[in-house]
Symmetry: C2
Subunit: 412 residues, 2 copies
């Protein structure tokens, strides 16, 4: 790898899927692994002890949000993200580039991979003072970088690859990302190509900024490059080849994965075979259970997503149940009146703190009464459930029973 | 005491103050003790483990709120409050009578002991659908009981002493309260007298309903009577004498304690000498640090208050500091910009989880970012801080240094 102190080792393969060990200065990540999202230097409602207890190995924080509040200098003064939030395990940060998409294109076009323009918006969080109207872009992309306005106070800021790396040095995550532009499913091929080519030039500038700067907090950081190219075959191939040639420590797959699950599978199948086998691969923004099986089967090692934690705060409990057509679904709405006097745990057999301790009736009551404890108990369950699924997936890959596990979960 | 399974023992006295042990079916309470408020069967943002860790001995839940949501029958079906919320320590419930005041008189008159008509309203909790307008009373008090409208959906309900006891049997708290009418500082003496006399008749009906009913959850419950009479000397004396004569397990002091701290001290000095020495005494709705010293010095054993937990959710941190005139104050606003880069714990020397783990800068950031973890970390600190003060008070009473401790804290 580019950076000493990091190592990725594949222990076992099954087709394109692999079981690995990602060594970081803050510990080992057994892969495939889910990366819990802690946008503002906190996985919403949980302490670091809670995170360890639910089996979280690594968390993800957002450069854009932390740059605006509390500010990268303050996090640096406090000793970096690990000491600031007291999480002693591995951390990744994104580059801020995703906000080019979520605060720019998705507002212009009214779509986005996420439901909200504010990636990890909480239903309990007050709205920003100045909310942009649809069709009004807050960002201006040039070769140099991206000008954007803060969703908090409307102030103007300018991000470049160099500044993104500088901020990420201050934040001090174990794994940081090159600065990229994230396109939407509504961008045409011509625009997506231009954005991809710019992302490649920014990748080189990010590498150069990384090489000519130093970690600030006493341990090394690794840098991942990002493959873009939307859902266009030729662009994904070109981007995978370009990023694969650079001396990144790992590769992230970003941007639009199309409009359907078939599109996502195609993007992974075009991209991953072109990536260096020895480097870890991260898929950005994916976390639904069927997508996890698809991504792991195609060779993804880690992925992050706000879905499990955001769902939890909306009373959406991860659980494998069957719908009216006997097809599996993975979400149970705990606000539903049928849980009002249900003495069972959220998920029978689940060993998380919430399921070991409380009834559906109680957690239902907490949600109906808008009680703060509800968000925490549901988040504990969802993260534990997903981390437990990842353990099952790793074990099944080692034992050669991944297809059975997949059929068991997805009923296919 | 009226009820087997309960005992109150005074271990030590110093003037009117006393150190005691209150034995309940769910364990011992060392007094003087603070009772943490868990209005809706949850001390907002905390688990039972958190409560044990901050040294909480006993909690308080609200009959009115639980009757409306989730409903007393559901709590009973789930095995009572202890099993429903998984708190294995002692619990008290109020009678619902306080809502006569907080949903009735305080709306009519625009005042109340609490800042809001919704006693433990959370800034993050959505407002009720139908908020009553000032001057419109939601309650109608008759000899039989109180008709009121739900703050949740406007539905009409009728509480009587008998129904209050029935609901409290279903909820299953260790200590339950007789049904009372709670008057406001704006009620004149004539009205306060009529309300007090009605409360006395309701006290007898509560006792009768208690005697002719049985605990539902396999352990006994104790019943406290409530002294009313506002800030009127003759009424407090009459009420104390009347309630003292009845075979209650303990005595609560309720209603208006006047408009000033001097008024509160006077009410306690009129009331407590008339109460039976062998019974535990609870002061309803008091929890500020100077008031705690005043109440303990006058012979109060336990008291509940939403202030420490509500303050916490508004970034108000319990801490002894000095104001501009070198007078002690007990609240530090952690949203204040001066904490933005402050690496110190919330309170230096504090041994709570929050102070042992996080910086002011981090918790400040969580509050500014409206992060759920902020409410929990601040609540942990405030309850720990207050429970620790109670430990200091008990030790000082035993060692004969209560006056020194009081001077140290209040600077008097």
């Amino acid at each position: 790898m580019l950076t000493e102190g990091f190592a990725f080792e594949t222990q076992h393969r099954m087709g394109a899927a692999r079981v690995g060990r990602l060594q970081t200065p803050h510990g080992l990540v057994e892969t495939p692994a889910f990366v819990a999202v802690g946008t503002q230097a906190t996985v919403k409602s949980l302490t670091p002890e809670d995170l360890h207890n639910v089996g979280t190995q690594i968390i993800f924080a957002n450069t854009y949000h932390l740059y605006l509040r509390p500010g990268a200098d303050i996090v640096a003064e406090m000793g970096g993200l690990h000491r600031f939030m007291r999480w002693d395990g591995p951390i990744m940060t994104d580059s801020g580039g995703f906000q080019v998409f979520s605060l720019g294109a998705s507002i212009e076009q009214g779509v986005g991979k996420v439901a909200s323009i504010f990636p990890d918006e909480d239903p309990n969080t007050p709205r920003p003072k100045r909310k942009p109207t649809e069709g009004q872009s807050l960002v201006k992309i040039t070769e140099e970088g991206v000008e954007f306005r803060s969703h908090l106070d409307g102030s103007r800021h300018f991000f470049t690859p160099e500044l993104s790396i500088e901020i990420q040095r201050k934040l001090g995550a174990d794994i940081i990302l090159a600065f990229d532009e994230c396109t939407s499913p509504l961008h045409d091929e011509a625009y997506t190509r231009r954005a991809m080519e710019r992302t490649h030039r920014w990748a080189l500038r990010s590498l150069e900024a990384f090489r000519t700067s130093h970690p600030l907090h006493g341990y090394p950081q690794a840098l991942y490059g990002i493959v873009q190219g939307g859902a266009y075959h030729d662009l994904r191939v070109a981007s995978a080849r370009f990023i694969a040639e650079q001396p990144f420590d790992g590769i992230a797959i970003g941007g639009s994965l199309g409009r359907t699950k078939e599109d996502m599978r195609a993007v992974l199948e075009w991209t991953i075979p072109l990536l260096p086998d020895e480097k870890p691969r991260h898929l950005l923004g994916i976390g639904e259970i069927p997508d996890i099986f698809d991504a792991v089967a195609r060779g993804v090692d880690t992925f992050d997503c706000v879905a499990p934690t955001r769902m939890a705060r909306n009373a959406g409990i991860l659980a494998r149940t069957l719908d009216g057509k006997r097809l599996p679904k993975f979400r149970m709405n705990l606000r539903n009146a049928r849980f009002k006097r249900d003495p069972r745990p959220l998920v029978e057999g689940c060993t998380c703190y919430t399921c070991r301790t409380y009834s559906r009736a109680y957690v239902h009551h907490l949600f109906r009464a808008n009680e703060l404890l509800a968000y925490r108990l549901a988040t504990i369950h969802n993260l534990h459930y997903l981390n437990d699924l990842m353990r099952q997936i790793r074990a099944a890959l080692l034992q050669g029973t991944f297809d059975e596990l997949r059929r068991h979960w997805l009923g296919e």
